[in-house]
């Protein structure tokens, strides 16, 4: 057919998988990239910081409560026992990050499984699982976590489990909502019509489509889990044998009026970590849903 106009259609192909577009949008987002760089720096400091600043954070090295620059104090001063605050900041991240990571893994596994099964099957299964979810949701999270930690005595493991158990309902509800939305779409029907099993439909067909909001949510929960861990440690429910930013602040709460540096530097570390997760989470949100940007 001859047509009067012959537009050069712009290249329609090569948009690539949906994830690649999101990555491109994410990289263009300055705040998100800043968050990512910040996080990489924090993780690097946590993993390799001791090579560059080789000080034992639990050793008493100088007179207590010397501020930065006072006497023979190290860069960030000393705490109420005379331990090096900078060494604490450098080493304290590993507990915070490990606890948050384990907790978030737990949240992902429990929350996604329950939400997926609940949303996919519906009916009485959904009702039963959602009642359980609500039960966990109405418990005050901090109190619930404190009870668990108190029951199993404070350790990195018990704190992680406590935070995980207190945080999964949100993920379960989000997953369920996504599954409810996606399960009636035609490609799910088409998968069923092509003979796919329930397991395959849940994990191979629906789940990859539910990933974007879940990734965003999990990232934000990661930030929240770090705060949660700090909160528990501050209340004295951290692992007393480990170093953590929250624990540093918690132990200094009696003395911080005499030494602002004892809480400010670990506080800034927590703040920076949570901020980085928030920025990354927001950036992912925008990258996955370009239309919602600027809400």
């Amino acid at each position: 057919m001859t047509v009067p106009v012959t537009p050069v259609s712009p290249e329609q192909g090569d948009l690539g998988p949906p994830g690649r577009q999101a990555l491109r949008l994410f990289i263009r987002n300055k705040a998100a990239v800043f968050g990512l760089i910040l996080l990489v720096a924090i993780v690097f400091m946590t993993l390799f910081g001791s090579f560059f600043y080789d000080q034992d954070p639990s050793r008493i090295i100088a007179r207590p409560l010397q501020g930065p620059g006072e006497g023979d104090a190290p860069a960030f001063g000393t705490d109420y026992l005379g331990r090096d605050v900078l060494a604490g900041v450098v080493n304290g991240g590993s507990t915070s990050l490990t606890v948050a990571l384990v907790a978030v893994l737990l949240v992902a596994v429990i929350g996604v499984s329950i939400g997926a099964v609940s949303g996919y099957y519906g009916g009485w299964i959904d009702v039963a699982l959602m009642r359980v979810t609500e039960m966990f949701q109405v418990l005050p999270a901090l109190l619930f976590a404190m009870v668990i930690v108190a029951l199993f005595e404070p350790s990195t493991r018990s704190v992680s489990v406590a935070i995980g158990l207190a945080s999964w309902p949100q993920t379960a509800r989000l997953t369920r909502a996504e599954f409810l939305r996606l399960k009636n779409l035609e490609f799910v029907k088409a998968a069923r019509a092509s003979g796919a099993s329930d397991f395959r439909i849940i994990w191979g067909v629906i789940f990859p489509n539910a990933l974007p909001p879940l990734i965003v949510s999990i990232t934000l929960i990661m930030g929240a889990a770090i705060l949660f861990e700090s909160g528990l440690a501050f209340l004295g429910l951290g692992d007393p044998n480990s170093q953590s930013w929250g624990l540093m602040i918690g132990l200094s709460r009696q003395t911080f009026l005499n030494g602002w540096w004892t809480v400010t530097f670990p506080g800034m570390a927590i703040f920076a970590t949570v901020l980085s997760f928030s920025l990354i989470g927001d950036g992912l949100q925008d990258a996955f849903n370009p239309k919602l940007r600027g809400r």
């Binding site: 192909g13 949906p18 035609e186 088409a190 069923r192 019509a193 003979g195 489509n209």
Partner: protein
């Protein structure tokens, strides 16, 4: 000749609502049967019942009736009685289905080639390489230009017509005995619809599959069907060869329906627009 698929006395309910009541029809190999009706007539529920998809995720229930399917070994099996595991082996393999919305009936996160390959791997146990060969062959069969290049594309990179071709390729990839097409061209532009209808006609001759087409469009029925079942309010109103339905319908509902169908060319020679001469139909 023995039918490939024989629906007998099918009744499907959703709670207290009867969506399909006592519906019977036969489909023969190499033939196209159109089930035509307006919204709420029960035509789509009939199609989903044959696939036994009506009970999944909804409150639908096959209350009565048989859906006899001639298995490859020649034996007639009643699909209503098959356990879910057996049905899974039949769906997409011996009976396959294409849907109305090519926009949403492909999974957005996988390339179209992978999606078709998966069906082949699942049912025919081919390895990845052989499956890709098969996909390429199917893409060429449904006349997707530049098939190799298209295989690695994602659904959002394709037009509606190309996506529907992919769906047809997927549906035919395991050489099904029966192909169910639920409003396959409704969402497409008219020139693309013409291409897909031509393709479906051509493929039926090539593959010898029996085709069950569900549609509301009398034009589509006239284009592709050999036999027609007219449905209204859960019931079969009339059935017969396509020419008989169009030229000598006996039921008032069929006649009323045909009177309201706009026909291209019906206004030839008239200068002024004219309203439809509607036939009164009181149920």
């Amino acid at each position: 000749m023995e039918p490939v698929l024989s629906v007998r006395g099918l009744t499907v309910t959703f709670g207290s609502f009867t969506a399909v009541e006592d519906v019977s029809f036969d489909i023969h190999a190499g033939q196209t049967l159109a089930v035509v009706g307006e919204s709420g007539s029960g035509k789509s529920v009939t199609a989903l019942s044959i696939m036994r998809l009506v009970e999944l995720g909804t409150r639908g229930k096959i209350e009565r009736g048989e859906i006899l399917f001639r298995a490859p070994d020649g034996e007639m099996i009643d699909l209503v009685q098959q356990p879910e595991g057996e049905m899974r082996a039949i769906r997409g393999n011996q009976i396959s289905m294409i849907f109305q919305e090519p926009l949403t009936s492909l999974n957005p996160v996988y390339s179209v080639g992978d999606q078709v390959a998966e069906a082949v791997i699942l049912h025919q146990g081919l390895d990845k390489e052989a499956a890709n060969e098969r996909v390429l062959e199917m893409f060429r069969l449904v006349r997707i230009p530049e098939a190799e290049k298209r295989m690695v594309q994602f659904p959002h990179e394709m037009s509606g017509g190309m996506r529907q071709r992919v769906m047809i390729a997927m549906a035919l990839s395991c050489d099904p005995k029966v192909l169910i097409a639920d409003e396959p061209t409704t969402a497409l532009d008219v020139t693309i619809q013409a291409q897909i209808l031509g393709l479906m006609r051509d493929l039926r001759e090539q593959t010898g599959a029996a085709v069950l087409i569900i549609t509301h469009d009398m034009g589509v029925v006239a284009e592709v069907a050999d036999d027609v079942v007219v449905m209204n309010r859960a019931n079969v109103v009339e059935r017969g060869p396509v020419t008989q339905i169009f030229e000598a319908a006996t039921e008032p509902y069929t006649r009323a329906l045909l009177a309201s169908v706009p026909r291209l060319g019906s206004m030839a020679g008239r200068d002024e627009p004219a309203p439809f001469d509607l036939v009164e139909y009181q149920p």
